[in-house]
């Protein structure tokens, strides 16, 4: 970090930034390769990175694997979408009407730490297994980051900006939608990015426990119960999940930069 970095030195050119990213990824892969090849970690349980990636590439032509991936993708997208549809309005409500926040807080905080494993049988009993179970659990888990970032985002809104609109006779709802929401939108999207990751994890994890034969989690589960366990398959699956996470994040960041140009430009970041 140079002395001027804290006040945001001019960003490095895009090529430099991408090569740095590649360098980071390569270093990480090299670390795994090294751990495995030197035997620090038993290669039977942590195969070298080259093998994992090689297997991941060949998996693409496996139609069964593609089917698993598609199933998971569907559950992920539905869960995340629903979570956002529920959490943003709810966050706006709880973040702007203190009495509702206070009244519901005990319930919300009570419900939140319940782990999905404990919920699986109960949810399965009430709404059945399959896609709806996965989607429900994904919604349940990825709701919180969006909800909390919305609530905390609202608190960071400049009170003078709100007063400005109020002084023109706009009601609380208009102030909420026209000032608080746009002003906290960048932080809400950070919550959404968090949720996207959580949703991915929950999709696959639920499938590992209760996938009913379909999804990336099931692929991973089956590789695990083989004898000996197909660690390369497991980690190749993990590789694709992780890579998907990276791509989704990159797309969201790009979308953020477009949508919140005002935010990033003011902060002196590359637009």
């Amino acid at each position: 970090m140079s002395a001027t970095t804290l006040s945001r030195a001019r960003p490095a050119p895009a090529t430099t930034r991408w090569s740095r990213r590649a360098a980071g990824a390569l270093a990480f892969a090299a670390l795994i390769e090294l751990l495995s090849r030197t035997g620090v970690a038993d290669p039977a349980f942590l195969p070298p990175a080259t093998e994992i990636v090689g297997r991941a590439v060949t998996l693409v032509s496996d139609s069964a694997f593609r089917g698993h991936a598609l199933t998971s993708l569907l559950a992920w997208a539905m869960g995340l979408g629903l979570a956002a549809l529920i959490a943003v309005p709810l966050g706006l409500l709880l973040g702007s009407v203190p009495i509702i926040d206070a009244a519901t807080r005990s319930i919300v905080e009570f419900l939140r730490p319940i782990p999905s494993v404990a919920l699986i049988p109960l949810v399965a009993l009430v709404i059945g297994t399959g896609l709806q179970l996965r989607v429900t659990l994904v919604v349940y888990a990825s709701l919180w980051p969006i909800l909390y970032n919305t609530m905390y985002g609202l608190r960071g809104v400049d009170p003078l900006a709100k007063e400005s609109l109020r002084s023109y006779g706009f009601g609380p709802l208009a102030v909420l939608l026209r000032v608080s929401l746009p002003s906290s939108a960048p932080f809400i999207t950070t919550g959404f990015r968090l949720a996207a990751g959580v949703a991915l994890i929950l999709t696959v994890s639920t499938e590992i426990v209760a996938g009913r034969g379909e999804g990336m989690g099931v692929f991973i589960f089956f590789a695990g119960i083989a004898m000996p366990a197909r660690m390369t398959d497991i980690l190749a699956g993990v590789f694709w999940v992780g890579l998907f996470g990276v791509v989704v994040n990159a797309l969201l960041v790009a979308a953020e930069r477009r949508a919140f140009r005002w935010h990033h430009a003011r902060l002196g970041e590359p637009g």
């Binding site: 009430v126 426990v209 009913r212 000996p228 366990a229």
Partner: protein, 308 residues
């Protein structure tokens, strides 16, 4: 076989009287589930006028809600879990047909070649893995240990999922491994692991593990289907008794066992009849271990059409 061997009635002539013909049964991705796949493969259900679909689930607790809300008709599950659920009142079970029993060498307590554990006595105070705590593995082993003058209470059980048994074992986190097939074969062949004890020997020989179970409610509604289903499973059991090939053929359909391994593993026994006496043993041991709140009379949970 036991003293009161239950014999199946002759095959029903037609599907005419069946309450329903389409069945969905939850199974596990383990060799024990083979009978239903053989029955499908060999057209035994068809013969009974049934169209059966097997739905693989990852663990039997997952299937219970499915059964309760009608997504499936019956499930393949281990008796210990089923009896516990029955005891706790979460589920009124009905055993449609027996499934698998432990055969010699299909379960094994094993030690690594350089381990100091040589005999059953050496197991005292040691840490052993189980798939799920408080389940049939512990139940059977306790009986065998007692028969070998080892106090079962000294054993420390840790729950280790299937794929993590090997790293935990070689990493020294468990002293001896409680393995089932196909791991027994693989561990013997690839690691030179030594067998210390067969948990399915002596008092626990032919220990019943899993069976096909529905709810009492379902059974009351579909008695004829239940009987037909039972016949098909028992016929499959008979077919499998001396014929490894029919089993090996279906294994890749629902397990992760390849053909080469399938040729060498030890299969469990697939029951071709129902026997309340041997099943009662499981319930009695569970009561003894205080896993049940009250005694269960197993025969009352079994299908009367074929027992006795």
């Amino acid at each position: 076989g036991g003293a009161t061997t239950a014999t199946a009635p002759p095959a029903a002539p037609a599907a005419g009287g069946l309450e329903k013909t389409q069945l969905k049964i939850a199974t596990l991705p383990a060799i024990d589930s083979a009978a239903i796949y053989v029955a499908i493969d060999q057209g035994l259900f068809e013969k009974e006028g049934l169209d059966v679909t097997a739905q693989v689930v990852q663990a039997s607790p997952e299937a219970i809600p499915m059964m309760l809300n009608g997504e499936i008709d019956a499930m393949f599950g281990n008796y210990v879990s089923m009896f516990q659920a029955h005891d706790k009142g979460s589920l009124k079970v009905r055993i449609l047909a027996e499934g698998s029993r432990a055969s010699p060498d299909s379960l094994s307590i094993m030690a690594l070649p350089d381990s100091p554990i040589k005999t059953a006595k050496d197991l005292e105070g040691k840490t052993i893995n189980v798939n799920v705590l408080h389940n049939f593995q512990e139940l059977a082993l306790a009986q065998v240990l007692k028969a070998n003058n080892v106090d079962p209470a000294t054993i420390k059980y840790v729950q280790v999922t299937f794929q993590n048994i090997m790293p935990s074992w070689t990493g020294g986190q468990i002293d001896a491994a409680y393995l089932g097939e196909p791991m027994v074969t693989a561990a013997t062949a690839s690691m030179g692991a030594r067998k210390i004890l067969d948990p399915a020997s002596g008092p626990a020989a032919e220990f019943p593990i899993s069976g096909y179970v529905s709810t009492q409610e379902w059974y009351d509604k579909n008695p004829k289907v239940a009987a037909a289903f039972q016949r098909a499973i028992h016929n499959a059991g008979k077919l499998m008794e001396n014929n490894r090939e029919v089993v090996a053929k279906v294994l890749p359909n629902f397990t992760q066992i390849d053909a080469a391994t399938a040729a060498t593993v030890t299969f469990p026994y697939f029951s071709s009849n129902d026997n309340p006496v041997r099943l009662q043993r499981v319930a009695d041991w569970m009561l003894e271990a205080k896993w049940l709140g009250k005694a269960i009379e197993v025969e009352s949970l079994m299908s009367p059409t074929t027992s006795g």
